[in-house]
Symmetry: D2
């Protein structure tokens, strides 16, 4: 367990996609090439094996392999946050340990969700407490109701925030009132990260410290600029960038999903490549619409 | 139809509750007393017959009577926004006209919602267009999915924003990315109001101009102060007030509902009084919990 | 209050549509013509001012006028069930009394729903109890979550079933396990009606006694035949009709809604006519698709 | 691929729970003991590694091990249906092959669900088609929206029903109209199984052939008796059993979940044992309430 001051999560983290070859196997060469590109951008680090990494379509070995590969390419000072959530506490603890072994700095633990109606605040708190107790690296809670159908209630977050090994939360639900309330009521060193670029500026305004956003795979510079302008008190400048990006953010998240994100990456010159089925790649008309949106957002 | 520059909605509007006597009849004396109190606060005006006014529990005549009574008490320079939404276009047009006749400055028109699955963007746009065409006063769109189960899509809002008689929207859904996107894509003079105090500051940060919030019935000064500090560039000060109020806001909205709001009004010295059934007044334990929350928020 | 044995609801009830003229006014002539046609069919009675009657788009006076008109045309032995639900208890009681005065035999009371999150089992039970206490005619509970977003929980239904003036429930949620549980646990003379033709046979099999179904506006004979065959123990025959009708039922309910139902009525020779806005009439392609479905169901 | 007549799924299948030791490891001894008991009951076979088997809390190796163990204990004439669904098509195909190798007769493939908003009918159909093409054993589709938040639309089911290697569907959604429509519109030899005991009789009435139900872990005899009475035309007898069991079924499914099911198994003398975290075992008061429900259902 970690009694030292927690790691700072202030900044932008792309939840990186997992590159695949045509065969469907992981494409580690392109992974490295993407990292070389991202390493040039003012990012705080990387989330590996998050929702945008198609982690549920990787087997456990692959999940660890990707984190290991990223850890080898990350320059000092950047963090690697590894998705290590499984549906069981037992499985989550095991995978979290493996992620720590291969070099991850923080473990991102999504709420278990298959048995939705049973995932009460008490059950989830108990789960996270066991994982945090057992983990050699700090835990970042992860609430993403659009994928899980589960909501990690604020009361559970507040209680978990005092655990010395729970460092913060990635909140992807988009409820800014909840984000504000968490900032207000959690332990002082607990860090709240926006889970999408669409509400980044709003989240900062109520006390979030950074963002893990699909859009950072293609717009790391722009998102970092929002943080910079915001910190400098230049709210109009920050707002201008924020508003320009919302539609593009929607396109690569709820709009076209990860197939859209990977297509956008291909358009901007980062390797997107194929998705794993059941995802289906974008058709021609969809790609055209997506390209238009990226142009309007000045990402192309 | 209105070709003049639209009315400014910059500021705080309490969606005032409708006071009842023990008999269940409307209590006009207490309504006047409340207004005298609110007239002392730095408010932009009043929303009458909104969700917090229990408008669905009033008959049509009562809805008009309350608006008339308020119009008589409002000092120059303050706006009266009257809820005039009905489930049918025909009924909405008729009631909007009556509201204009008794002095309302703006009509707040909630999305029809009973036949949820049929309320597509096209259907809702068509509804609002007819109402806006026929109304002698400007229309404020009203999206409140928690009550209606209907979402007024951004595409419909963008198209409606160019109608000369559609002045803005009260957005109560709490989706700040949507608020930002609306600010970005709607006509220049279209005004977006946050529909709840929980995400007020976040909404301002992305371009909203004001707020219609249940909480303004008991915290008009505090909410106005958020706007003042925000406009002065004092974001830390604005944030401090905002964060302090979130839990109280939850208590008088999704937590204890209008029974909670009225109980809170009674606690702070404004007349809350009884609710109309099916609402049931708060029990003792609930009142105690509510009082504690108001104290923590320094509203008591 | 009613201490006599309750009225039998065994049979088929069309929740009749409200015919409008092109002007949007109620078309009483066509209403009478439709009733003359329906009076030839083996129906148990009529539901007037239910969801399919566009009751939320009628004003209160119109709601009463339609019930009055129907009562004058209904032959002895058929029941008139009048929708009298309002959002407030007070309004519901008042309208229920008016419905009784103009001749309705039973009042159909939909759950209040605007303040969804507040409509707990306790609140709804309290509402219904007041209405049932005050009503001169028996009350039929009405659960229709697709429209209301509210679920009347089985516990509340069980408790209300012992009220001498609560005669039964129209259950439109489609949850047959709930229907079975209600049959099993409610008072002996409590009558459960399926609220849609799609699950009629299944509901009968677990103890429902009849049906209030949009489809009965165009397929009263067929639905009555399902009941007849079922009662005769001819389950294969009943099933054949049931399965044939499901897609047509979907088309005039969740598929094309009331615009679809009215278009289908026009196709089969009953007067459908225009809908009230915000509803929009079916386009050509939709009508063609609908006609094909009716042909397949042998309703055309 | 299978060109022979499909396997008959007429009958009752318990989706067996996975027994664990106190240590959390799989308890194969108790698994065998449970099977010896179930082998005495008139069951058609077993579902292994379904939702009630906590399959998401097993690793892939464990999932295969349990199926292998069951296959060794199953007498001739009984089917083993193995859950082999993964979030990716690739993973599902691989696991399905492993299940076939260890002796499973049929593979139960749940809809992928993590990326809910992307799981359109086209995407799901494409997924199932690839899995069915590649599988050496027949595929049983599995729709369970309460867990997945995804609905496998009837159109996709109808199209998939003509695939020679798609044998049927386990439909757990409880929508009997959908079950009827599937029976009506799918290929003739496609078999529909109710996915819960709560709507078993209703499903049979519209053409389902059997049931996979959590409750069969404790009430296999009773559920088989419903099928027997139904087939004999003894609908009143079938209904009496069905209605008696609904509340107990709710208790071991949506009520107390798998912790409740395992507690109930312990009460009736089958080994339930501990659950894997994040599930938490039932408390004393919950066990008492559960016992009362089982007594009322005459299962104790």
């Amino acid at each position: 367990m970690n009694a030292e001051p927690p790691l700072s999560l202030h900044g932008v983290f792309p939840p990186i996609t997992t590159p695949f070859k045509r065969s469907g196997d992981i494409d580690f060469q392109h992974l490295v090439a993407n990292l070389e590109r991202w390493n040039q951008q003012p990012l705080r680090g990387y989330v590996v094996g998050g929702s945008n990494g198609e982690f549920v379509s990787l087997n456990t070995e692959e999940r660890v392999d990707v984190v290991r590969a990223v850890c080898e390419e990350v320059p000092p000072g950047r963090l690697v946050i590894a998705g290590s959530g499984m549906q069981s506490t037992r499985g989550t603890i095991e995978l979290t340990n493996q992620m720590a072994e291969v070099g991850a700095n923080v473990a991102l633990v999504v709420t278990p969700s298959y048995y939705k109606s049973m995932m009460s605040a008490v059950v989830l708190e108990n789960h996270y407490r066991q994982v945090a107790d057992a983990s050699p690296i700090p835990i970042l809670l992860y609430n993403v109701p659009a994928n899980t159908g589960v909501e990690l209630e604020i009361e559970a977050v507040v209680r978990l925030s005092t655990h010395p090994n729970v460092i913060g939360i990635k909140e992807s639900g988009g409820n800014v009132a909840k984000i504000g309330a968490m900032v207000h009521k959690t332990a002082e060193d607990f860090q709240v990260l926006a889970g999408s670029a669409g509400f980044l500026l709003a989240a900062l305004e109520v006390g979030a410290v950074g963002v893990i956003a699909a859009l950072a795979n293609i717009a790391g510079n722009e998102l970092a600029e929002i943080l910079t302008q915001f910190s400098a008190g230049e709210h109009d400048a920050a707002r201008a960038i924020q508003l320009r990006l919302i539609e593009a953010n929607t396109a690569v998240t709820t709009g076209y999903g990860i197939p859209g994100l990977k297509a956008a990456m291909d358009m901007v010159g980062t390797y997107g490549g194929p998705v794993r089925s059941p995802f289906m790649s974008l058709g021609k008309a969809q790609k055209k619409a997506l390209r238009r949106i990226l142009v309007e957002a000045r990402l192309l």
